[in-house]
Symmetry: C2
Amino acid sequence: MASLGPVTPQQMHFAEPLPLKSGAVLPAYQLHYETYGRLNADKSNAVLVCHALNASHHVAGVDAAGQRGWWDNLVGPGKPLDTERFFVIGINNPGSCFGSTGPMHENPATGRAWGADFPVVTVEDWVDAQARLVQGLGIPRLAAVLGGSLGGMQALDWALRHPKKLRHCIAVATAPNLSAQNIAFNEVARRAIVTDPDFHGGHFYAHGVVPRRGLRVARMIGHITYLAEDAMDTKFGRELKAAALSYSTQDIEFQIESYLRHQGDKFSEYFDANTYLLITRALDYFDPASAHGGDLARAFAHDPATRELQFLLVSFTTDWRFAPARSREIVKALVDNRIGVSYAEIDAPHGHDAFLLDDARYHGVLRAAFERIAAENAA
Amino acid sequence: MASLGPVTPQQMHFAEPLPLKSGAVLPAYQLHYETYGRLNADKSNAVLVCHALNASHHVAGVDAAGQRGWWDNLVGPGKPLDTERFFVIGINNPGSCFGSTGPMHENPATGRAWGADFPVVTVEDWVDAQARLVQGLGIPRLAAVLGGSLGGMQALDWALRHPKKLRHCIAVATAPNLSAQNIAFNEVARRAIVTDPDFHGGHFYAHGVVPRRGLRVARMIGHITYLAEDAMDTKFGRELKAAALSYSTQDIEFQIESYLRHQGDKFSEYFDANTYLLITRALDYFDPASAHGGDLARAFAHDPATRELQFLLVSFTTDWRFAPARSREIVKALVDNRIGVSYAEIDAPHGHDAFLLDDARYHGVLRAAFERIAAENAA
């Protein structure tokens, strides 16, 4: 299938401050975004794609650095989310490190980089920022909001708090909140970063250093939770790096160690430490049921317009980070409200990472969903 | 039930170097051990208890510091491993940090602490060191070797390489080797320690510091893997530390964070960083099937004396570190060899930690096993 080819990010500036869930305010800010395909005459074919932890607005096509978008296997001409039919928007969330206003940018109050003083942002704040950008593009109602993992939480929040601004909510490999274990892994990763002497209380930019040690450990921990245990055994097992053991506590003995260290090294080269803290906290905080006595069904019942939406939930059997049971909690809350929902539990070996991979059944489910949405548009 | 009361560790010195699996040699060394109960006249009632990652020779009773032994709920007068009937031995393994020769002791070749130069020790090396101590106590054959987790691996190794020196092998919550995921968690923990600037290449003793940051992160990671996800949700869930969220990336928001940080802090106060590296490596390396084409059944067939032993395997349903499936691999290899084996899969909520906890069904299984062993002795 053809790819989109070269794509160029755009910026939108917002002079009006963004009120945040914490009570703080994000002053004037900018968002980086990309769009693919063409907005139709009645502006009914726009699909917003929300990114997860370490991704960006660069969803599809090839950017100036030659990098393919993180969901390029899904989004493009003739692909499941077909850019011949849909106008697709990728937005980098505030607090991230790929162009939108974030901790490495200047805090207007001090003239220095925000660093650890960047206001804590939540899924709700991101969705509000996205809604402003969508409004800025002149789109009254999105055909769909689509996201995986943390992106799926954003899709759910659109449905809960801006239900009149979308028709379909598609949430893949996500959860209605983090479990204690999920929070625990995030917390260890944060401690690794925060206790790295190069973190300098989050103001490492001024010191010309990066807390790479902490970022590496954080990414290694995260990466383990993205992969299924069986898939790790299939891919790496106990395979050695060299022909024989070297009997060393610090050298690499096993291929899995080599792989993980490489992932950690790569990540520490491009990802911002303050962003990592912010984004894992946004994950921790997301819990739409909490305002409704912990009852997710009541959360979906709160705004009658939520009932008009169509939901699609997708989970993967070997995902132990956001297991299928977590998606089923969402499905049950929707069914309890008699809200239209489809649910696909994909038997895939790749754990949480499956939502980013090219799996025929998974992509088939999304292709069919977008074909139905396109048919609605044509009707 | 009565406890053993005050117990005093003993030391045994070994002038003869210990040849290690790596090809290196541990020169003259000493082992700390404790014993409980009385060795009978024909020396047939001795049970060796092997310790796991962060435990020691102090298995039962109360030591000089007022600390109760790590398996005091299991070992003592009238307890499942009844010290009125059995002579129980706890040994601290070489390389550990509770008295036996380890990285914080003097390297005779340099006159300085061993630090990172302490030779890499394996489960096999530990078992060989234990066998010398048992011989030093004048015990020709142990009634049983018992261990959980890494201790279970030692019990299995006794059965595989010293089968004439025991009658029963009791291995709880263990595995025939580590999975790629198990190794991955160990590797992240090691990287956290080794990249802590206070590690000083393992020679931190000379600098008067301790790599506490790394030890804390290592312990937090380990701790997550010891607990069952559901039990974490039951115990902590998303419970907040304070009445309301503070919206901070660095402060504690959730109780699970508070708990984990506390575990990390405690651990970093008493555990040695070099020992952590050595012990996780011993876990990584253990793989008795590897010398037999990866066929565990062949490993158990190697020494005909292994066939004469009686095995008991115990696993816990919610243990995801060493899941029941891993114990069943061992049971299958034994059954394939028609070796006597009992297996109990205990429905317990506490994950890997269950092997240390007081569970009636679990303790009932061990009590019955030791009653049979005592009856054999009496016959």
